[in-house]
């Protein structure tokens, strides 16, 4: 019903506009086209000036309205660089924006047609043109310089002590693999992927580095203050690991592994306090169109202290043992309760 009302109103407005338009055509015929033209010229001149003034007020109001909703403090060391670059660029572009828009609309208003004015023949001025070639070039060089400096810092090699996590995107979810106690991710081959038989990552079991790798889905755990290197891949189509709070992003490409690294600054708990949102959670969003579930391809990240992380990883059984229950020492002792003390023992090492 509401839809019909809106449509009816739209049609009505349309008809009214058409009638006014036709009528004004007749009016200008009576008044003379030249007079009508001059009048509409004045009106449009004022409207352009009004657009400038209300537009600038609108820019300010829009900022007041929305500024608290853009993300607060970046939650990673790299994020600080990204934000700094962003605000420097914002400052520079804001100045240019205001100056040029004011000039545009002010000139339009000021130099609107008048019988008393003759246009000024001014085809070129080489000095002026040189000035406004060189100044933007210098300003941009500065921005480029800063940008590239930060870019190399962010994309440079990860520190040696960084923990490694493998992130794999698939339609429509995330898989993570931790290297386990040996600190090495075991080899994998996509033709070995067999989720039904406990090998969703396609690990090669003959590689001993695989025997302690832990596989989890949807939720990634990271340690606060500890650099982490993500080794990123995809199973089916291109996805993208988007980490808004850390200001990081990297495509997940099937067949071509990518990496990125950063150091989380705040635990999830700290972020809950900072944002004042008790439901706060770090989210991992897919930022590359990947099919009909793209918009819901969500993972979560828990940033915690080293102790909490150790306890969490210890509670996970390596995928090797999940896929090969006969190799599981805990299962051999045919006692499920033995699994827990065993795992904590590994974690303490």
């Amino acid at each position: 019903m509401q839809t019909f009302f809106i449509l009816a109103i739209l049609v009505l407005v349309f008809v009214i506009i058409l009638q006014i338009s036709k009528a004004s055509e007749y009016v200008s015929q009576i008044k003379g086209y030249e007079n009508a033209r001059k009048q509409s010229n004045r009106i449009n001149g004022f409207m352009l000036l009004g657009f400038l003034i209300f537009g600038l007020i609108g820019v300010y109001l829009c900022n007041e309205w929305l500024k608290d909703r853009i993300l607060g403090e970046p939650a990673s060391d790299h994020g600080e660089l990204v934000d700094r670059m962003l605000y420097v660029t914002l400052a520079v572009t804001s100045i240019v924006f205001v100056c040029t828009q004011v000039a545009l609309f002010w000139f339009a208003y000021k130099y609107q047609e008048s019988d008393n004015r003759k246009a000024y023949y001014y085809p070129h001025n080489n000095r002026l043109e040189l000035i406004w070639t060189v100044i933007p070039a210098i300003v941009l060089s500065v921005l480029v310089g800063f940008g590239i400096f930060y870019w190399f810092k962010i994309t440079g090699p990860a520190p040696k002590d960084a923990m490694v996590v493998e992130v794999v995107g698939k339609q429509f979810g995330w898989e993570f693999r931790y290297p386990g106690a040996d600190g090495m991710l075991g080899k994998k081959y996509f033709k070995k992927v067999d989720a039904v038989n406990g090998n969703p990552a396609g690990q090669l079991w003959e590689d001993p580095a695989n025997h302690d790798d832990v596989f989890v889905e949807q939720e990634m755990h990271l340690v606060v203050g500890k650099p982490v290197q993500l080794v990123i891949g995809a199973k089916d189509v291109i996805h993208d690991v988007g980490l808004v709070h850390f200001r990081m992003k990297m495509d997940a490409v099937p067949g071509t592994p990518t990496t990125m690294w950063f150091t989380p600054k705040f635990t999830t708990k700290e972020m809950k306090e900072k944002t004042g949102n008790k439901d706060f959670v770090y989210e991992l969003s897919c930022d590359q169109m990947c099919g009909k579930g793209h918009w819901s391809m969500r993972g979560t990240i828990v940033v915690e202290t080293q102790e909490e992380f150790d306890a969490w990883i210890a509670s996970k059984k390596p995928q090797y043992l999940v896929a090969n229950p006969d190799k599981d020492p805990a299962a051999k002792k045919d006692s499920a309760s033995a699994a827990l003390p065993m795992a904590t023992a590994v974690a303490k090492n």
């Binding site: 055509e25 993300l71 339009a108 043109e129 933007p136 590239i148 579930g293």
Partner: protein
Amino acid sequence: MSETMMTTAAVATPATTHHEEHGHHQESFISKYIFSMDHKTIGKQFLITGIVWAIVGGLFSVLFRLQLGYPDKTFPILETFFGQWAKGGQIQPEFYYGLVTMHGTVLVFFVLTAGLSGTFANILIPLQIGARDMASPFMNMLSYWFFFLASVVMMSSIFVNTGPASGGWTMYPPLSALKQAGDGQKIGTDLWLISMALFIVSSLLGGLNYIATILNMRTKGMSMTRMPLTIWAVFFTAILGVLSFPVLLSGAILLLFDRNLGTSFYLSDIVINGEVLPNEGGSAILYQHLFWFLGHPEVYIILLPAMGMVSEILSVNSRKPIFGYMAMLGSLFAIAILAFLVWAHHMFVTGLNPFLGSVFVLLTLLIAVPSAIKVFNWLTTLWRGNIRFTPAALFAIGFVSLFISGGLTGIFLGNSTIDIHLHDTMFVVAHFHIVMGVASFFGMFAGVYHWFPKMFGRYLNNTMAYIHFWVTMIGAYLIYWPMHYQGLAGVPRRYLDKSGWVNFNNFRDLDQMITIVTIVVFAAQLLFVFNFFYSIYKGRKVRSQNPWGANTLEWTTPINPGHGNWEGDIPEVHRWPYDYAKDGREFIPQTEPVGANESKH
């Protein structure tokens, strides 16, 4: 030059038997309006087809904005029209992505490439350089009909059972290469690729023709530096298209092979829905290089003609020469060159080598220099003018404003450090819609309002035109300005419902506002469409040969020029096209010989 003379002799000699043989006055309906070889008619065909596509593409955006603004509401009327695609009155994800993909494809290629270049290159090149027609009218006709064929194929893909292509207008594989990846990746994607291949053929036929015509068929005295900036702009546009579209064609063909012949150009290491595919050794990123090698010049293919027309229209309506003609020309040239050297800035986060990334940062931000020159020159053109706010002039001023706003946000995105955060967010959507979408549309509208009297011998209705301008101008800023904030908050693009997200779900009021404004702006475009068709038949008649007091050659033709454009000889050109306000005279047409006492510029 000799060819010019030949054409002149062949077509123009009035009322001789020679003339009759060519039969320009005894055309049937079909040869005059359908398979026409008159550049003006072909231009109008491009324009009207473009308008139809713009309505379709715009309507799609209204539909998916409904979903974005009101993700939990149902609109039963949608189910009436779209059936299974809008089950229960809600747009289904496959349909949503189909709409987004078609909106992008249609507007970028069919409206802002074919509809914009196709229209104005065709209408303006022969008229402004003083030629009877294009170098090859037949190729020109083919160009339109290949475009029409591409349109038919694309349109038909909307009606197939599994829906149109839905991989985004960039059509990245492996998503677009795997039929298992979703409904939109089935026959819809094949049709998309075939349609694009036909479109590229059309674009090449047109582009080669524009280049040949501009280089060879200028009238006597029309040296390259006496050409209006519109012609320079479409010239560079055509060159960009001719050099870059073939690359997209190869990319599309390889994708067709991967889809249907089992090749592995783009495919490697894929497990989809538990099925292990045999492909190994391909590179998904290869496609992105091929795509963006066209895709970035494409942005300028869209923007340059708008820039050219805006330069011309601002100059005519400020009654003042364009400021810095040579600098405008140089910056067009610089943009055309740089357009080829920045494509990888779309790929900063694909795992591209960081050093390569930094080179592309430098080249990308370099484009801001010629862009800045253009803006400052437009501003100086307005300065101390005597400006008439015709609808065309308003749209030209609006273009400059939007070009500034959208250009400045490009400095954020072109900087790879910031791009890490903003890549594929709503910030990108806001940026490119302002700078290449809306701004180019403004250039196109300016062109239509300015040259409508030449095309149809009538004026558009001014009141409707002013309403159209102000609603579109205000609406464009209301839609896209606040959208940047969503991007700064990291909201990814192509998310049809954000309610499942903790950090992206705080923009509901903004999304609703944008949706409502979108509907209003769309209605204003329908008003323009009405005005356009109404005025073709009922508009006020043009009584003066040169209604805007312009210098360029098209205004020396009869009010309703026939095939061949000039009834007598083609006029000779004696000066550049921007002698406005010179020596106390309001304007001096290009055809007027330089006087003995005239001042030099």
